[in-house]
C-alpha cells in the first residue's frame, strides 16, 4: 500500500482476525505521527480488550494508553447509544424526541432493527470524519451475516425513507376508537380484510409500528441527507478497503466474492491480506503430520488465490506463536502488518 488512505476499512468474514489487524494498523499509523482513531463495531468488545479501553469508549473517543506518541484513540459503537444520540440531534423539539424515545417499539428494537447496527456504523463514522480531529481513521467493520452488509446500509435507509411506508404512516389509519379507518369504510369486506390482517400480524402490532414511523417523521430529512453523504464517503478515493481472509484453498471462493462485491460497489480495494499462514516447511522433516498438512494447505491456497485475484494486490501474514489479546502484543502484529502492506505495492 503506497499511500495510507484517510479512511482505512477492514472487511472480511468472522474469525479471520480483522479486529486485531485494525488495532495493529492504528498502532502503525500513530507511530508514523498521524493522529489516528480506531473504530470498531464489534458487539463482543474485543477491541476494547485488545486496546485496554473501558466501556466509556462507547460514548466518546478514548486515548489508548501506551500507544506511540499518544496519538491513538479508540471508539466503540453501541447501536442503541448512537441511535439515541441521533434522535436527540435531529428531533425538532423535545416533544418529538420524547415521543420516539418513549415508543415501545423503539425501546425494544432500536438495538436489533434490521440493518441498524450497520447503518449506525457508517453514521458514527461520518460524524467523526466530519469533525476532522484525526488525520486517519481505521475502521473495523461489524460482523454481519453477510460481511459486507454495511456497504449497502446507507442506500437501504434512503430507499426505505423514500418508500411509501413513511408517507403511508402519516395517513390517519386508525380512528379514535382504535379501529382501522380503511377497513371500516369497506363495510363487510373491510371486516374480513381486517380479520385477515389481524390473523397474520395483529392490528395492535400494526398500530405500534405506524406510531413509530410517524414519530420518526421529523427526522427523515436529516437522515436522508446524511445517508447520501456516507454513501459518497465510502466510494471516494481517500477511502481504502483491506480485505482480510483466512488461509487455505477452501476460503478462496468467499474471498473472491467479497472482492467482487467491493468493486461492484465502487469501493477502492487496496488489497487482500491472508492472515495466519502456517509456515512453509523447507526441509523434508520429520514434521508433525498436522503442521505439514496445514503448511501445504496454506501455501497452495495462497498460490491459487494470487492466480485468481489477478491485478488485485495480495499480501500474507504469518501465524504467530502468541496471538495478542492485549496492546503489549500489538507491536509484533504491527510489524508483520507493515511487511504485508509493503508487499501490496
Amino acid at each position: 500500500m503506497k499511500r495510507w488512505p484517510r479512511l482505512l476499512v477492514f472487511v472480511g468474514a468472522g474469525g479471520v482476525g480483522k479486529t486485531t489487524l485494525a488495532a495493529a494498523a492504528g498502532w502503525l499509523s500513530a507511530r508514523d505521527g498521524a493522529r489516528t482513531l480506531v473504530m470498531t463495531f464489534d458487539p463482543s468488545h474485543r477491541l476494547r480488550q485488545t486496546l485496554g479501553v473501558g466501556a466509556e469508549a462507547a460514548l466518546s473517543e478514548i486515548p489508548v494508553a501506551g500507544a506511540p506518541g499518544g496519538r491513538l484513540r479508540a471508539s466503540l459503537l453501541d447501536a442503541r447509544t448512537t441511535f439515541d444520540r441521533l434522535v436527540e440531534r435531529y428531533a425538532p423539539d423535545a416533544v418529538a424526541r420524547d415521543r420516539i424515545l418513549g415508543n415501545r417499539f423503539y425501546r425494544t428494537f432500536s438495538g436489533s432493527l434490521a440493518g441498524v447496527l450497520e447503518y449506525m456504523a457508517v453514521e458514527r463514522l461520518f460524524e467523526v470524519r466530519a469533525a476532522e480531529r484525526y488525520d486517519r481513521i481505521v475502521l473495523d467493520t461489524p460482523p454481519t451475516r453477510e460481511a459486507l452488509d454495511f456497504l449497502g446500509a446507507p442506500r437501504r435507509i434512503v430507499e426505505f425513507l423514500d418508500s411509501g411506508i413513511v408517507r403511508l404512516a402519516f395517513r390517519s389509519w386508525f380512528d379514535d376508537s382504535g379501529r382501522p379507518r380503511l377497513t371500516r369504510r369497506l363495510g363487510p369486506l373491510g371486516r374480513r380484510v381486517e380479520a385477515g390482517l389481524d390473523e397474520i400480524v395483529g392490528v395492535d402490532l400494526l398500530r405500534d409500528m405506524v406510531e413509530f414511523f410517524r414519530a420518526f417523521g421529523p427526522l427523515y430529512e436529516g437522515f436522508r441527507a446524511r445517508a447520501a453523504e456516507v454513501e459518497r464517503l465510502l466510494r471516494e478515493p481517500e477511502t481504502g478497503f483491506l480485505l482480510v481472509a483466512g488461509p487455505g484453498e477452501e476460503r478462496i471462493p468467499e474471498t473472491l466474492y467479497f472482492a467482487r462485491r467491493l468493486r461492484e460497489h465502487g469501493c477502492h480495494l487496496a488489497g487482500v491480506l491472508v492472515n495466519r499462514l502456517h509456515p512453509p516447511l523447507e526441509s523434508a522433516g520429520p514434521w508433525p503430520p498436522l503442521l505439514a498438512f496445514l503448511s501445504r494447505r496454506d501455501g497452495e491456497g495462497l498460490r491459487l488465490l494470487a492466480e485468481r485475484l489477478g491485478e488485485i494486490p495480495l499480501g500474507g501474514l504469518p501465524l504467530l506463536g502468541d496471538e495478542p489479546a492485549h496492546l503489549a502484543g500489538i507491536e509484533r502484529v504491527a510489524g508483520e502488518l507493515e511487511t504485508a502492506l509493503a508487499d501490496l505495492g
Binding site: 451475516r145 426505505f160 418508500s163 385477515g196 508433525p288 498436522l290 501465524l319 489479546a325
Partner: protein, 293 residues
C-alpha cells in the same frame, strides 16, 4: 444408545453457535450424522443465506430443497423469507388479496424491516418439524451476536407486541427456547484466547436471555500434542508449533476449569473441509462420553 454426548442431545432443538471461524457448521454436520447413526430422525437446518452445510455432507447446494443424506438425516437450507410468504398465502382469506399483498413493495419493506419476524418464523418451523416428523432438529445458528438475537426474539416480540397471533406465537416460542427438555444450546469454540473469551461472554448472555445454561461446550480443533522433547537449535516452524501447542493447552485448561456444564473435545484432523472430515468427527462424537467438567 450409549450414555454420552449424543444421548444427551437426542431430541428437541439443538442450537449450535459460536464465534465466526471456530467450525460451527462442521460440528453441526457431525452432530447430525452421529444422531442419525444412533437412530434418531434428524433434520439439519441451515439459515445462512449463503448455503454452506452441503459442503460438509458431500452434496450439491439444493437451493432450499430438502436432501436425504444418510438414513435418518435430512438437510434443509431454510429461506425464512419464503416461509413468511407461504404463511401469508395460507392465512389470508382472499387469494387475490394475498397475491397483491405479496407483490406489494410495502409488504417487502415490512417483512425486511420487521424486527424478530425472521427469527420467529425459523423457530416456528423448527417447532412444526419436531411435531412427529423428526426427533431432533440441529440448527446451524448464526455467529455469536446474531445467535443471541435468534433465541431472544420470542421474548422481545412477546414483550413489544400486545396481543394478536404474533404475540401468541412469540409467547409459545419463548416457551420452546427456555425449556431445557426441548431446546439445547451447543457452544462451539477453539482453544484460543479470543474465541474462548467470547464463548464465556456468550454463555452468560444466553443464560440471562433464556434462563437456561448451554447444554454442551465443544472445544473444536485441538491439535495433537505429538512433539518430541524440545532440543536446542530446533527449526523455526517447530518452535512456533510448540508455542501454539502450549497456548492451546493453557486456553483448554481455562475453558475446562471455567465451565460448569458438560464439555467435549474434538481433534484437529489433517483433512480438508468436506464430508470425510464431518464423518470422522461424527465417529468421535458418537464415542464421546458426556464429560462433566
Amino acid at each position: 444408545m450409549s450414555k454420552g454426548v449424543i444421548a444427551a442431545l437426542a431430541n428437541g432443538l439443538v442450537f449450535v453457535t459460536g464465534k465466526g471461524g471456530v467450525g460451527k457448521s462442521a460440528v453441526a454436520a457431525a452432530l447430525s450424522l452421529a444422531l442419525a447413526e444412533a437412530g434418531r430422525r434428524t433434520l439439519l437446518l441451515g439459515i445462512d443465506p449463503r448455503e454452506n452445510l452441503h459442503e460438509w455432507l458431500g452434496v450439491a447446494p439444493s437451493g432450499g430443497e430438502r436432501l436425504a443424506i444418510v438414513p435418518g438425516l435430512v438437510l434443509e437450507s431454510l429461506r425464512p423469507r419464503l416461509l413468511i410468504d407461504r404463511e401469508v398465502e395460507t392465512r389470508l382469506p382472499i387469494r387475490l388479496l394475498a397475491r397483491q399483498l405479496l407483490a406489494h413493495p410495502l409488504y417487502h419493506q415490512f417483512v425486511d424491516g420487521a424486527p424478530g419476524l425472521e427469527e420467529l418464523v425459523v423457530l416456528a418451523y423448527v417447532e412444526r418439524c419436531l411435531h412427529g416428523e423428526f426427533d431432533v432438529v440441529v440448527l446451524d445458528g448464526a455467529a455469536s451476536g446474531h445467535a443471541l438475537g435468534q433465541l431472544l426474539a420470542p421474548a422481545l416480540v412477546a414483550e413489544a407486541v400486545r396481543g394478536g397471533p404474533f404475540a401468541r406465537l412469540a409467547a409459545r416460542l419463548r416457551g420452546l427456547v427456555s425449556d431445557p427438555r426441548r431446546c439445547r444450546t451447543v457452544l462451539v469454540t477453539t482453544a484460543e484466547e479470543m474465541p474462548a473469551a467470547e464463548t464465556f461472554e456468550l454463555a452468560e448472555e444466553l443464560t440471562a436471555a433464556i434462563g437456561v445454561p448451554a447444554a454442551l461446550l465443544v472445544i473444536n480443533q485441538l491439535a495433537p500434542d505429538d512433539l518430541p522433547v524440545a532440543r536446542a537449535g530446533e527449526a523455526a516452524p517447530l518452535v512456533l508449533w510448540r508455542r501454539r501447542l502450549a497456548r492451546q493447552q493453557r486456553e483448554r485448561e481455562r475453558l475446562r476449569s471455567g465451565w460448569s456444564g458438560a464439555v467435549t473435545e474434538l481433534p484437529w484432523l489433517p483433512l480438508p473441509r468436506g464430508a470425510a472430515l464431518a464423518h470422522a468427527l461424527a465417529e468421535w462424537l458418537a464415542a464421546a462420553p458426556e464429560a462433566p467438567a
